[in-house]
Amino acid sequence: MPQLTTTTPPAPAPVKRSTLTKNQLPGWAMWAVLAGSLILGAALSSLIGFHIATWALFSALIYVAAGYFVTLSVEGARKAKDRFATNLVYAAFIVALLPLVSVIVTVLAKGIPGLTPHLLYYSMNGMTGTVDNETVANGTPVIGGVYHGIVGTLLITTWATIISVPIGLLTAVYLVEYSKGGTLARAITFFVDVMTGIPSIVAGLFAAAFFGLVFGPGTRTGFVAAVALSVLMIPVVVRSTEEMLKIVPNELREASYALGVRKWRTILKVVVPTAISGIASGVTLAIARVIGETAPLLVTAGFVNSINWNVFGGWMATLPTFIYRQLMNPTSPTNTDPSAQRAWAAALILIIFVMLLNLVARLIARIFAPKSGR
């Protein structure tokens, strides 16, 4: 989108006022308004006890209002409205940026101090409130880590991927390549849409209810959690794969059929390879979406302090539930700082996982895209 500068082209001050530049504010006018607003805002703010937040708030309000009236008096009502809307859009952008920047800064500031090799290589096995109390009393480094949580997150996410990807891919192939727009295909499309909207906690409840009925109440293992995550992951995989298969040109399918190649081989050897970069990046994004899910894990995987490599037996810790538990039920109720430090470090690790997956998805899309170069 090219920038549409119809309002205030930065016109060099003309010697002779032409008809095209008359009734137009000079380029410095808005800067002057801004400076005035900042001063006035500071004054107003100090009336109620100066604070940087109130200063910014008052200055912004004054700037938006003053900008409107100044433009109104010189350039007319239409330009004034345009100025007002432009300022509001910029304001919305800044307001949106604040919390998002704050989230990132907080995670970095609070997470980096706790991000030690010890955190990565040790679990919380044997960690009690007493240990944390001693740590605080003696001022020694925090001990106890998230190794068990990383293991759990990776295992559960891997199993969720193993379940979701074949089902998702095959369903997408059915929808794009085999279905003829019949009732079944429309039902599947509709219910895949429905599945995208399932709240994650409900997906967790489903898995818990299902395994509870089949294997007895209170069955909680990593695998139950993987099933819950699959319910969330399958629709994402189906959707993205469907989109990618649809943009494979029909001409390629026809070319393959015309060579006497069977449909299933055409799909596996021509259609899917052509779309593979998009499919792979879609799957990666789906993994990124579920790796940070917390709610379904709380109700399906349980929580432990020790390492569990077996997804089919026993409770299992994960990074998100680790963060949640450390914040909600600190290891030592009296000295919560060590728990908070571990939680933020774990949050940083989790975000790094998610960002890496997003990055990998983009790389896959770029590297494996069909080459057209000469």
Binding site: K180, G181, P249, E251, L252, R253, E254, A255, S256, Y257, A258, L259, G260, V261, R262, R265, T266, K269, V270, P273, T274, I276, P370, K371, S372, G373, R374
Partner: protein
Amino acid sequence: MSKRIDVKDLNVYYGDFLAVEGVNINIDPKSVTAFIGPSGCGKSTFLRTLNRMHEVLPGARVKGEVLLDGEDLYGPGVDPVTVRSQIGMVFQRPNPFPTMSIRDNVLAGVKLNNKRISRSDADDLVEKSLTGANLWKEVKDRLDKPGSGLSGGQQQRLCIARAIAVAPQVILMDEPCSALDPISTLAIEDLIEELKNEYTVVIVTHNMQQAARVSDKTAFFNIAGTGKPGKLIEYSDTAVIFSNPREKATEDYVSGRFG
């Protein structure tokens, strides 16, 4: 390595809609036959029924017989896949497989069907097919480069090489030059001239000069109006169609009075 095609009373339907009606035509082996006619007259549709490619579209079906050296393509127990491996097809727009190299594109028919082929046999087949498509000299040094990196005309010849690599009896061409520039078109037309020494070639074209230049026989298709089925109006030697046609409609069309 070429067979004749005899079509008897063929009707083509899309769902309930009759698209092409009552075609009878005999196509000789080792000849070039051109289908001409205005847009929407069913010539491409009919061409696709000759190797059952129309079945790719949902709801498309035919009534009648298409005999390949006396064997009905639509007989019971006939697998469209087998039909297509004997009757190859080249499309309007060049469509090399983007994920494959030039070499793999030529071998696609073999490899996609999971047939085993030794390295030296494969090399021979690639050279033979590309030579047959007049492309060998241009690409022999870059066989491992992607096929989509070639020019439009080269891509179309690569598609022809891909088609002849599976050793078909018949090659169908659906407006093979309509997306190409004049020089590439000339190269393809020269190639068609050579292909007829080994294969039965059927070509659909919008370009009457092209039909006149390359074909031995020409079939003129026409349509009475929108929603009416397309019909084969006249089928004869190309020289007759263009100089002394039997039907008024044919004469009008080839002389440029409509269409």
